[in-house]
């Protein structure tokens, strides 16, 4: 039993942090907010070169063969830096989705391309009602010749405008199925959905009888449920890792600030009202760390309680990050409410992930079902 990082894991984290500190500065984050694509190609290629884009894929697919723990280490740093770009969409949603459900040929086609940075992927997991239960999918898939035609509306699809392939759940006659869709194909329309988080891009994805080939079907028709559930669990934990990083950044900034800010002739960090709040923030951050890395380990190790751990993680971290990032604004006072100060970059990053891949309420219900069988 050893709940600490290996030397390799610490090295990985340090190298990710060093690279992002240098290349993903707040100035870069702000510049990308007004960039048309929303992310920098130079950093993207750097990430490919450093092996981050293929981190969880098998070596024969150009990956590093690492697990969810390592992926979360990278994502925590990305949350900490408010990295703007399609890493999560491409590697976690698209990459892990293909890894979990794709055929040999599909993996061969896409995973090396994702790992090398040449292709970007995403997944369209939400519709109008925001129900995370895959069974709620209403988009349809009908057979058409050798292929399929897809219809329906997907919302909040991350980085779809930059993607070469999107995993799209749709209801076939056989039941819930999963398809690979080129978002630039005929019959597919993307419309930006602009949220408060400057580092994320969402699209509405409208499918009007969009035609896909027979080999775009991921797995057997009607068999997508378990793949989507497994993907959602991983996405929930990976999103929690990003929220953890954002929360830790907010805590660090707060602690730094209250050590230099004076009021009433004293450093405000000497006031118990401030100090106790900072202590509570640290407790929330450390507990989130435990929740993220326990769940990440459980998913990789195939532990018996992996599904429960994922729900513990997302329900806990969603609220802990909300609290910590909000408290950070509070201890900063007025400066924390300005656009010019960087705090809101991390506050909004955490906020944008809070409802995704199941919010706290969703995962708590899953926990009780798991505990009581009803």
């Amino acid at each position: 039993m050893n709940f600490s990082f290996s030397e390799d894991q610490v090295l990985l984290r340090n190298s990710v942090r060093a690279a992002l500190d240098e290349q993903c500065t707040p100035a870069h984050v702000r510049a990308m907010a007004t960039d048309e694509r929303g992310y920098g190609e130079a950093l993207w290629h750097e990430m490919a070169k450093l092996g981050w884009l293929g981190l969880p894929f098998a070596e024969e697919q150009g990956g590093a063969g690492l697990g969810v723990v390592e992926l979360c280490l990278v994502l925590e740093e990305m949350g900490r830096a408010a990295y703007p770009g399609p890493y999560f969409a491409s590697v976690v949603l698209g990459g892990l989705g293909l890894q979990l459900g794709g055929s040999g040929a599909q993996k061969e086609r896409w995973l090396p391309a994702i790992a090398s940075g040449q292709a970007r992927a995403s997944a369209a997991l939400l519709e109008e009602t925001l129900d995370w239960d895959p069974a709620s999918t209403t988009a349809t898939a009908t057979r058409s010749g050798d292929g399929w035609r897809l219809s329906g509306v997907k919302r909040f699809v991350p980085w779809a405008h930059a993607a070469d392939v999107v995993l799209v759940p749709a209801r076939a006659p056989e039941g819930l199925s999963l398809f690979l869709v080129d978002p630039r194909a005929a019959g597919v329309t993307l419309a930006p959905m602009v949220g408060i988080d400057l580092t994320t891009r969402w699209s509405e994805m409208r499918l009007d009888g969009a035609a896909v080939r027979g080999d775009a079907l991921v797995g057997a028709p009607g068999a997508a449920g378990p793949v989507l559930e497994a993907l959602l669990r991983r996405a929930a934990v990976c999103a929690s890792a990003e929220m953890l990083g954002a929360a830790r950044r907010c805590l660090d900034m707060s602690v730094g600030y209250v050590k230099v800010r004076e009021q009433f002739g004293q450093l405000i960090g000497s006031f118990q009202a401030i100090r106790h709040r900072c202590a509570e923030m640290l407790l929330a951050v450390e507990s989130s760390h435990s929740a993220v890395y326990y769940a990440a380990w459980a998913l990789t190790a195939g532990a018996e309680d992996a599904a429960m751990a994922a729900s513990v993680c997302k329900s806990y971290v969603s609220e802990a990050a909300r609290q910590v990032c909000g408290d950070a604004i509070q201890v900063h006072g007025g400066i924390g409410f300005t656009w010019e100060y960087d705090l809101h970059l991390y506050f909004k990053r955490a906020k944008s992930l809070e409802p995704l891949y199941g919010d706290a309420v969703h995962h708590r219900e899953l926990l009780i079902r798991g505990l009581t069988g009803a």
């Binding site: 039993m1 050893n2 709940f3 600490s4 990082f5 290996s6 894991q9 723990v69 602690v255 209250v258 050590k259 004293q266 450093l267 960090g269 000497s270 006031f271 118990q272 401030i274 100090r275 106790h276 900072c278 202590a279 509570e280 640290l282 407790l283 450390e286 507990s287 435990s290 929740a291 890395y293 326990y294 380990w297 459980a298 190790a301 532990a303 429960m308 751990a309 729900s311 513990v312 329900s315 806990y316 706290a360 309420v361 995962h363 708590r364 219900e365 926990l367 009780i368 505990l371 009581t372 009803a374």
Partner: protein, 404 residues
């Protein structure tokens, strides 16, 4: 990172489980029964496991200690006695005591032949422990002790007490405190039980009037008492980390059963969406406590002392326990308040470190103590703020000047 237990630890756990099945007493009726059980645990090597072998311990790894405590919680085994002796006084003597003190006192702590208490808090020195006023006056070959202590757990059954007293009132308050071993069985020591909100008396008040402490029973040097007390506070953490969670989980399952049976608006409370959310939150919190315990154990196994981060653990579980018990009360309604005449379905099957009190009412009331004893939540937050986050200290008048 590997959160699986090693084959060695799994085998040890199995061994402990079997031993408990064969040796656990059916019932503890009185202190003699509990001492007998304590002795049995000691002889099996399950008590004071972390102590060095030369003083009767096992030199066991923290994980082995945690597994024994955890298996005892899992089996609902009665707690041993002399907890402060084994957990705090003994380790203090091991680290700070003289060879003579070690020979004289250590083994009898483990065998519970001599029971110990801790004489720290005073009516006007709670969170501000260093403000204590109990005085030990140097009389040549001995000290004369005068003053009052409070919140002395196990005081009524203690033979000896680990005492903090002021030996120099002319220096700043943290520097004038010394640490002693005091015989409780002497005319100058008057112990009175203190009745708590639970209706029970796990704690006592201790009045000392010209009580005598021999010179050779000084721990460390005069004026070093504060530093010694700081290190011993740390001994409390870690070993029971897993056991605590196992007890919570057992209580949680009993609460789920109650929520299946009780109804609201014609439906089982367990089907109520709001209650499910609250139960889900507590389960997540409980699991996060378990993960945190595994992190602490990892640190201990590597020989690292948790130090100030123990404050994070203590703050976390004590506040959690309060939230948990508030939810239990909410679900159980008036059943949760019964101290007697509790129907079997709503009894709480648990033996706590402080005795067998099988009611939710007792567990609920007792949860109010956790965020006060051994450093209140407010004090823990100060420690976290100052020692972990490095925040500036408050401007405090009491860091300069004497107490008189």
């Amino acid at each position: 990172m590997d959160l699986n237990y090693t084959a060695e630890d799994v085998a040890f756990r199995k061994h402990v489980r079997t031993w408990l099945e064969q040796n656990m007493p059916r019932q503890i009726r009185n202190l003699d029964d509990r001492k007998a059980w304590h002795r049995k645990l000691y002889e099996a090597g399950y008590l004071g496991m972390g102590w060095p072998k030369e003083y009767g311990g096992q030199g066991a790894r923290p994980m082995e200690q945690a597994i024994v405590a955890d298996e005892m919680a899992r089996a609902g085994a009665p707690a041993p006695t002399n907890g402060l002796g084994v957990g705090i006084v003994g380790p203090t003597i091991v680290v700070h005591g003289t060879d003579a003190q070690k020979r004289r006192y250590l083994r009898k702590i483990l065998t519970a032949e001599e029971m110990w208490c801790q004489l720290y808090s005073e009516p006007n020195a709670g969170s501000d422990l260093a403000a204590l006023r109990t005085a030990a006056e140097d009389k040549g070959d001995h000290f004369l002790v005068n003053g009052q202590k409070i919140w002395t757990s196990g005081g009524a059954i203690a033979d000896w007490g680990l005492l903090l007293a002021r030996t120099d009132p002319t220096v700043p308050k943290h520097k004038g405190i010394s640490c002693f071993l005091m015989n409780m069985r002497q005319p100058g020591v008057d112990v009175r039980p203190l009745k708590q909100i639970t209706g029970s008396s796990e704690f006592c008040e201790v009045f000392m009037t010209n009580a005598r402490v021999e010179k050779e029973n000084t721990i460390g040097r005069l004026g070093e008492g504060w530093g010694i007390a700081q290190t011993t506070l740390g001994y409390e953490r870690g070993g029971r980390a897993l056991a605590r969670i196992t007890t919570y989980a057992s209580q949680y399952n009993q609460l789920l059963n109650a929520a299946r049976r009780l109804k609201r608006n014609g439906r089982p409370i367990l089907d109520d969406a709001v209650t499910r959310q609250k139960l889900g939150r507590i389960w997540a919190d409980l699991e996060v406590e378990r993960y945190g315990a595994l992190r602490v154990l990892t640190q201990l196994e590597r020989g690292e002392h948790p130090g100030a981060s123990g404050s994070i653990t203590k703050l976390s579980y004590s506040e959690f326990e309060k939230r948990f018990m508030e939810l239990a009360e909410e679900i159980l309604g008036p059943y949760g308040q019964l101290t007697d005449g509790v129907p079997a379905e709503f009894r709480l099957e648990v033996d706590t470190a402080i005795g067998d009190h099988g009611t939710w009412a007792y567990a609920f009331l007792w949860s109010r103590a956790g965020t006060i004893y051994a450093g209140s939540s407010e004090i823990q937050k100060n420690v976290i703020g100052e020692r972990i986050l490095g925040l500036p200290k408050e401007t405090r008048a009491d860091r300069v000047g004497g107490t008189r």
